[in-house]
């Protein structure tokens, strides 16, 4: 691959961190690249190292009701413990399913024996009924779900699913509304009071309302429902809080589509729908994505809070549970959760940045 | 005549060159640029964009290091920027939070640190008056048209009483009519005060109207002086008289032909258009 292509890919992926390494590898102005590496790599590493050092020193001096403040090393250990627990739990689950399968097989064998007797003309009454009963029991045994506690990794996955559903709902509402607001001043004025009043509302205030409404309206029996109630509650709370940035950015992006593009549409005689599809939305795309990026960030923060408050499964609940249990590892595990939340938030943001880069139509400068 | 010429020589650029080190090797932008100017003379450097003419000007201004040769102004070799040279750039670059008056005052205070407040205000007022902004002292850049902003830029440069005025495409951002208007303002001031000025431009008519001599630069890399034209129009210069001078369109044709010959696109067809 040529140097330009690598550099361009790096820029699109927003990995400018690696740029000096690549340039150095291609032997370009080594002194300058080394200085850049020092700035971009060594300085952040050094500052993080200082932070860890200060933390380690301070930890032993802070006494909490759960013991002394855990050091970074202890937090690291707990992360390992949480992962090990996850694997152990998965192992237990696998064992459980294996045991169930064995039991089911035994039951089926017994059923087969009874059925065989009946086939050979054994006159004992109810043999066939018993065989059917055993087969039924075997089916149930096989179908039985493992009901162990969710592990740390499970909680992470639940949180991610929840935030994505909420984000999706928010986007599906906010983008069309935003486009209409941007196109029509009348519509924007009609929507404006809701935006102004609901935008600053904390997720904690929405949560009870959402819980009550979901409880009242989402009456599908649990075994037929696609989603659990708690999942829907969290996702809707996320959606309610995270739709505003997308709505406002979309409206702004659409209303600031250059006048000349509208003039072009007029001169070309494009229909309203073609104009929206071919000109307005592509032109507003970078702004829309900027809004989505903020929305996803907000959604992730809101989610943790709502999970904590509503005791809905996810990382928030994990933290709350740890806080309630109060074992000696509690504090360290909460800190693991904090770092996890931060890291996932960062990754989500990166993903959005990349998407934003891909839809923005700036000329790529090599 | 040659003797007196040397005696009156005020600005001398000798064997001036500029080159950069790049990963692809040494890149020569300008090489062997020679020019002498008398006091009170107006010289225009004309060339295609990217030919290095602005590089020459910024070396004279002391804003760009000299790679080869040197620059002597008033018998002193220059090494960096100084108040003896005033520069007007293409963008007026005024400070948006200061009024026209304060923008000009900013430099005056540096050059005349010991003058009384009244004396300094007098200098500022005089120069704003010169550029025709006598009644716009208190306006901020945002309240001025681009043409008026550039007038402030010229007043700011003149108020420092530089011995040499350097103009880097000063009217490049203005429309043709405003450009002509500012050319009229500029030539009137320069002729009345007998200032020495060096201007970089790519506008043929601008160079012909303002300059006593025109330096035609070849296109870079390794740009140098291609031709030196004497402009024979009488002072004071008036637009109608200059345009109707029998030599005007001949000179214009000659310059355009020179520029067409040195069209960088023709020479390097491999470069993207």
């Amino acid at each position: 691959m040529s140097r330009e292509r690598v550099l361009r890919a790096i820029r699109v992926l927003d990995l400018s961190f690696f740029e000096p390494f690549v340039r150095l590898a291609f032997g370009e102005q080594p002194g300058r690249q080394l200085r850049k590496i020092a700035l971009q790599v060594l300085v952040p590493l050094a500052s993080f190292g200082l932070f860890l050092g200060a933390w380690t020193l301070a930890a032993s001096n802070v006494e909490t009701k759960y013991g002394t403040l855990p050091t970074p090393a202890q937090v690291w250990d707990q992360a390992g413990v949480l992962i090990a627990e996850h694997h152990a739990e998965r192992q237990r689950e696998a064992d459980f399913h294996a045991a169930q399968a064995r039991k089911a097989a035994e039951l089926e064998r017994a059923a087969a024996v009874l059925a065989g007797k009946a086939d050979r003309g054994d006159p004992a009454p109810g043999l066939r009924d018993d065989a059917a009963l055993l087969r039924d029991r075997a089916r149930q045994t096989r179908a039985q779900r493992y009901s162990g506690p969710p592990t740390y990794i499970d909680q992470i996955l639940t949180s991610l699913k929840t935030v994505f559903l909420g984000f999706l709902v928010a986007s599906l509402i906010a983008i069309p509304l935003g486009v209409l607001c941007g196109l029509s001043r009348t519509f924007a004025m009609a929507v404006n009071p809701f935006v102004q009043i609901f935008k600053p509302v904390s997720p904690l205030a929405w949560l009870p309302i959402v819980m009550i409404l979901v409880g009242a309206l989402y009456t599908t029996p649990p075994e037929e429902a696609w989603f659990e109630k708690s999942f829907v509650t969290s996702a809707l709370t996320v959606a309610l809080c995270s739709l505003w940035p997308t709505l406002m950015n979309t409206a702004l992006g659409v209303s600031s589509v250059p006048r000349e593009y509208h003039a072009v549409a007029q001169v070309l005689g494009l229909s309203w729908w073609t104009r929206v599809r071919k000109i307005v939305i592509p032109a507003a795309m970078p702004m829309i994505f900027a809004g989505l990026r903020i929305s996803l960030g907000v959604g992730w923060m809101v989610l943790i809070a709502s999970e904590m408050l509503a005791q809905n499964p996810g990382l928030g609940k994990f933290i709350w549970d740890m806080f309630q249990n109060g074992s000696s590892q509690t504090l360290a595990q909460i800190m693991v959760a904090v770092f996890t939340i931060g890291a996932i938030g960062f990754l989500l943001d990166r993903v959005m940045v990349v998407l934003q880069r891909l839809v923005s139509h700036q000329p790529e400068v090599a | 005549m040659p003797d007196s010429g040397r005696a009156r020589c005020f600005v001398e650029l000798y064997n001036l060159g500029k080159s950069y080190d790049t990963p692809a090797g040494r890149q020569v932008v300008v090489r062997g640029f020679e020019l002498r100017m008398e006091e009170g003379e107006f010289v225009a450097i004309l060339g295609h964009s990217g030919c290095g003419k602005s590089t020459v000007l910024s070396m004279i201004a002391g804003l760009n290091a000299i790679s080869e040769g040197g620059i002597v102004i008033g018998h002193r070799e220059i090494t960096g920027p100084g108040p003896d040279r005033g520069v007007v750039f293409q963008a007026p670059s005024l400070l948006p939070w200061l009024t026209a008056f304060d923008n000009v005052m900013l430099g005056v205070r540096q050059v005349h640190p010991r003058a009384t407040r009244e004396r300094r205000a007098e200098i500022v007022r005089h120069h704003l008056e010169l550029v025709g902004l006598g009644d716009a002292h208190d306006r901020r850049p945002a309240e001025l048209s681009l043409g008026m902003q550039q007038r402030v830029g010229i007043a700011r440069a003149l108020a420092l009483s530089p011995r040499l005025l350097l103009l880097d495409e000063p009217f490049g951002m203005l429309d043709a009519l405003t450009r002509m208007e500012l050319q009229d303002v500029l030539i009137e001031i320069l002729e009345r005060e007998r200032r020495t000025a060096l201007m970089v431009t790519h506008d043929v008519d601008e160079a012909l109207f303002l300059a006593h001599r025109i330096v035609l630069m070849t296109s870079g890399p390794e740009a140098r002086v291609g031709e030196l034209l004497e402009v024979p129009f009488a002072s004071p210069r008036r637009r109608a008289a200059v345009l109707q001078h029998p030599a005007y369109y001949e000179l214009r044709a000659r310059i355009i032909e020179f520029l067409d010959e040195h069209d960088p696109m023709h020479r390097t067809t491999a470069a993207p258009a």
Binding site: P258, E260, Y261, A263, V264, Q266, V267, L268, G269, L270, T274, K278, I279, P282, A283, M285, H361, Q362, P363, E364 | H48, S49, S145, D175, A176, L177, T178, M180, E181, H202, D203, R239, A240, L243, Q244, Y248, Y249, E250, R252, A253, I256, E257, L259, D260, D263, M265, P272, A273
Partner: protein
């Protein structure tokens, strides 16, 4: 027979300082197949005039007729080329042109539309760059795309709003020759606004001065009897060119000076 007719056209815009009358009493007649250049400078109301011709703005006074019919809005019979190119940056050269062709000829088969697009991209010499996006093109190439897009609609009238204003002198010269060549082939009726007197003289049959606003109106009209094709380099040796250019330039500077003088008197009164 006049193809374009403007009678007493006026336009007023509301501003913070009250209503500003940008245009007043603009009269213009353009014959079919004629190339008319209007020379005006920034703030002279030329963009407003162009928008009215294109049907993007409605005049407050007077009327605009094309082929005898009053203009009620933008239409595919009048294609406008913007100074800023107004290309859609997310579409390739070909797709920018296609957008116009699809809108102008919905009844055509896909194959015919594709051929029409390719023909016009090739006409402006961009066949090799058809797949590129505007961001990858130079200013001159972008303006070629804009011209191709306008011509591909096969309009009766081509409106050029300072088409070369944002380009450097060299590229301007090249594109002027290009426009002259295309005009010689297509013989569209063209109204061009420019601030470059020389450009007007190179291209147009007639040059009209737009006396600057507020209350801009059309000033004297100069017929350009110079033989075609007009080669820029040779024109400087042509006394007729020099005479016309001086006449127009001096008229412009004098009318500007008169206006400035009048304005000064008003403020002092």
């Amino acid at each position: 027979m006049a193809l374009i007719e403007l009678r007493g056209v006026g336009k007023t815009f509301p501003t913070v300082a009250g209503a500003t009358e940008v245009l007043r009493g603009v009269d213009l007649t353009v014959a079919e197949g004629e190339f008319v250049a209007i020379v005006g400078f920034s703030g002279s109301g030329k963009s407003t005039l162009m928008s009215i011709l294109a049907g993007l703005l409605r005049p407050d006074a007077g009327e605009v007729r094309v082929d005898g019919q009053p203009v009620r809005g933008a239409g595919p019979d009048r294609a406008l080329v913007f100074q800023t190119y107004a290309l859609l940056p997310w579409l390739s050269v070909r797709d920018n042109v296609r957008l116009a062709v699809d809108a102008a000829f919905p009844g055509w088969t896909a194959a015919r539309r594709r051929a029409h697009v390719d023909e016009h991209v090739a006409m402006v010499g961009l066949a090799a760059a058809a797949g590129k996006r505007p961001g990858e093109l130079s200013g001159g190439m972008r303006q070629r795309v804009a011209v191709a897009r306008a011509l591909a609609m096969d309009p009766r009238i081509l409106l050029l709003d300072e088409p070369l204003g944002a380009l450097d002198a060299l590229t301007r010269g090249t594109l002027q020759a290009e426009i002259a060549r295309i005009w010689a082939v297509t013989r569209k009726t063209v109204v061009m606004i420019t601030n470059d007197v020389e450009e007007a003289l190179v291209l147009a049959d007639r040059v009209i001065v737009l006396e600057p606003g507020p209350r801009a109106h059309l000033g004297p009209s100069f017929a350009v009897p110079l033989p075609r094709p007009r080669v820029r380099a040779a024109l400087n040796h042509d006394p007729a060119f020099a005479g016309l250019r001086n006449q127009i330039l001096l008229h412009l500077t004098e009318s500007r000076a008169r206006r400035a003088g009048a304005a000064r008197k008003v403020t002092h009164a």
